[in-house]
């Protein structure tokens, strides 16, 4: 058995005294796996993903990504880790005045990728997500669903080995959802581990992949 890509041991995250977002959560996601993270609004899904990519730090517990304790990294190692994790945020975190293409390119630019490689990759992603016409449109002029696709494209653009998608289809109709899921599956085929937080039953109901259910900050009857 290969080393788990993501490993959480008794992780607790307390925001403020009365907001305990995660309580004693343990979890293991193997390399190359796709897992679904479900649970009610406010259950702690986003918090869990943020802990994994190191945007938030845990109140207690161990978080390992690729076998390394991400909370003991030296400051100069953090950029490398983040370049290797693609996170599609629930609130997108796009730059509204920049074009769709520029937003997607950002994740590759910070890794000092070649300009022509970036251009090709951006164009390819936009085509796959049916946004080819929005190449130069500022993100603020896109519909919400189009913005969501740009956010997903940016997350996968740099071919990270771990993709965290937070509610990637919340603003998408069933057809477009399928397009996005196809893209994520292709990334998975190319070797990426994927954790997908979602409310959309249609996505995970008949899946063969692992589904983890959070409830009030704790895991409930996970299937596997």
């Amino acid at each position: 058995m290969s080393k788990p890509m993501v490993e959480l041991v008794s992780v607790t995250k307390v925001y403020t005294a009365n907001v305990i977002a995660l309580e004693d959560v343990s979890l293991e996601v193997d390399t190359g796996e796709i897992s679904f993270l479900i649970g009610m609004s406010g259950a702690g899904k986003t918090t869990l993903l943020k802990l994994i990519c190191g945007v938030e730090s845990p109140t207690a517990g161990y978080i390992g990504v690729g076998g390394r304790n991400i909370n003991q990294l030296r400051p100069r190692e953090i950029p490398g880790l983040r370049q290797d994790i693609g996170m599609a945020y629930q609130d997108f975190k796009l730059l509204p005045e920049r074009s769709a293409a520029q937003n997607i390119a950002m994740s590759m630019e910070v890794a000092y990728k070649n300009t022509s490689t970036i251009k090709r990759r951006v164009k390819d992603l936009l085509e796959r997500l049916k946004l080819e016409e929005k190449h130069d449109t500022p993100v603020s002029n896109l519909s919400r669903g189009e913005q969501q696709r740009v956010a997903i494209a940016r997350a996968v653009a740099n071919s990270p080995s771990l993709i965290l998608a937070d509610e990637p289809t919340g603003n998408l109709d069933p057809m477009t959802t399928e397009v996005v899921m196809d893209l994520l599956e292709q990334c998975n085929d190319a070797g990426a581990t994927i954790i997908l937080a979602t409310h959309d039953e249609a996505i995970y109901r008949h899946t063969k992949h692992k589904v983890m259910k959070l409830h009030l900050g704790k895991f409930q009857n996970c299937n596997s």
Partner: protein, 295 residues
């Protein structure tokens, strides 16, 4: 691809998106440099002005009787022993009369019925240019009064006193306004730079989330600081130069500049101002960015 090239591209792109606030920063830097160097220029020139005014000073020591030639030599030595002077001229009674008659010119006949010997002889002491302080002049004059045979020392006390106060007042004004202005300029530059960073804090946060290194984030800001510091201070100095030559043209009269010998900055000082403002701009952005680099 080289990081520097990327930084240049990024800086160019940032400029396209934020040219409004960038031009604002540039103008702020210009204005601050203009203000600062304006007062610096006035300050240095006012300090010099005092010296030039002192240069016209002459202390006349009157004697009761004409001293003997060897006595004059001794007196001169006594004076130079006390303080270095530019020159000392002995004016005998005859000479004093000649001067007066020359002075009166055609009206020489006023003196017709006057004994040419009524004017007292004197030693005219021209102190060095650096004697410009009222209290020093007083000290010197007191010393001269005690010379053997001296009855009186004259040097236009009233006017000199007034001048001294006037110069003092001017210096207070220049120093206070200079202080006030440097405060303002620093405040403005710091504030503007901080605002520029705050305006882009969203972008910086996102870049950090995407895994940008400190270098990647800092480089474009360094380039921008360099550009703004350089262009801003160049523009400021240029405006000052134009203002300077305008004032010079406008108020030029030979007699005016006889007293106040205004001059512009030397190349060295221009260089220092340019470098200082570049350092300030870069330092400013880097300082305000530090907290984003920790995220």
């Amino acid at each position: 691809m080289k990081p520097l090239l990327i930084a240049v591209i990024q800086a160019g792109r940032n400029f396209r998106y934020t040219w409004g606030s960038q031009i604002m920063t540039l103008l702020t830097v210009s204005l601050s440099v203009l203000i600062f160097s304006f007062f610096f220029l006035i300050y240095t020139n006012v300090m010099k002005a005092g010296v030039n005014l002192g240069g016209d000073l002459r202390l006349a020591v009157y004697f009761e009787e004409e001293p003997l030639p060897e006595m004059i030599t001794r007196l001169k030595k006594k004076i130079t022993d006390f303080r270095e002077v530019d020159k000392i001229i002995y004016v005998s009674k005859d000479e004093a009369y000649n001067r007066l008659s020359q002075h009166l010119g055609e009206d020489i006949d006023v003196l017709a019925n006057i004994n040419p010997m009524f004017l007292p002889p004197s030693l005219e002491v021209y102190p060095p240019k650096d004697l410009k302080n009222l209290s020093q002049i007083k000290l010197f004059s007191e010393y001269l009064t005690k010379l053997p045979g001296a009855i009186k020392v004259q040097y236009g006390q009233g006017w000199i006193k007034r001048f001294d106060y006037f110069t003092k007042l001017l210096r207070i004004i220049v120093i206070l306004s200079g202080g006030l202005l440097i405060l303002t300029a620093t405040f403005m530059v710091a504030y503007t730079v901080r605002l520029t960073v705050v305006a882009r804090q969203e972008e910086l946060k996102i870049l950090r989330l995407l895994g940008a290194t400190n270098n990647y984030i800092l480089m474009p800001f360094l380039l921008e600081g360099l550009f703004q510091g350089f262009c801003g201070s160049a523009l400021g100095l240029l405006s000052l130069g134009i203002l300077y030559s305008w004032v010079k043209d406008r108020f030029y009269s030979p007699s005016f500049f006889e007293f106040f010998e205004f001059s512009f900055f030397s190349h060295t000082i221009i260089g220092i101002i340019l470098l200082a403002s570049i350092a300030l701009c870069i330092g400013g952005s880097v300082t305000s960015m530090r907290r984003f680099l920790k995220v």
